[in-house]
Subunit: 154 residues, 2 copies
């Protein structure tokens, strides 16, 4: 099997065995070398965003000292949830290798499919109510950013 | 204007002025009190996931010492990107108040709309290539989780 996926699986099992989080691991690589590896730490940290892919990206960014990881690839034991897939987009990573699927993790009780459906516009059983307020007061922030001479886009 | 949104705007401006990140701020509240506030720190930390909502959730979870924030609400100066919206789902927050929209932030160069379109199944100009590998070797992780007597769902 793929040697990077092997590391991701080892990470996942370690995290599960130590009750740090769900059975998920991820590895960020560049030029055929491991930059970072992580497992889900939602239970250990109480941070609901502490999924394996997010942590692997966060560590890789810290190591490479840049938010643009477009020269990296990610291996993950399971198809990324929408949060992680979006984080991978923001990190400019262009290649994902994944093991099990959203269907598989939904079968063992995780919410991935429910969130994917919400993002596709399925408003049935919508878990969140969104309300637009004070847009006139928030709008100037965007104009200030647009006119900021030393802004860095990310 | 809403007093929590006022705090979120102040956070956003502070982060922008200090070149810590984009013009975005967020506040998590519970029982009409502020639990945490944050601004985008992508540039300061080099972490592409360091959006205001993610940081506000992470801090609120640390303060309340739990990943379930279902008794909290979130105020954010701009409509959450798909990463943050999904994180809000994972945190079980049920109410979002937002100021400017995805259309507004797309106009000043951010990728929110591109990521939303990808998640809705628009495969044109897909920024990421996904490849399914080693699912047979990853599948046992899910079975081990399912059979784990002391597992905590999140």
């Amino acid at each position: 099997m793929n040697r990077f996926m092997e590391i991701a699986i080892r990470e996942a099992r370690e995290g599960m065995d130590q009750n740090e989080g769900g059975p998920f691991g991820a590895v960020v690589i560049r030029d055929d070398s491991v930059i970072s590896a992580a497992h889900n730490e939602v239970l250990k940290t109480n941070d609901p965003s502490a999924h394996a892919e997010i942590l692997a990206i966060r560590r890789a960014s810290a190591i490479l000292e840049r938010f643009d990881l477009s020269d990296c690839e990610i291996y993950t034991t399971s198809q990324p949830c929408p949060m992680c897939l979006s984080a991978i987009c923001w990190a400019r990573i262009k290649k994902i290798y994944y093991g099990t699927t959203t269907t598989n993790v939904t079968e063992i009780g995780f919410d991935d499919d429910r969130i994917y459906r919400m993002l596709r516009g399925d408003t049935e059983n919508l878990p969140i109510n969104c309300e637009n307020i004070d847009s006139d007061q928030c709008e100037p922030l965007l104009q200030e950013w647009k006119l900021k001479p030393d802004r860095t886009m990310y």
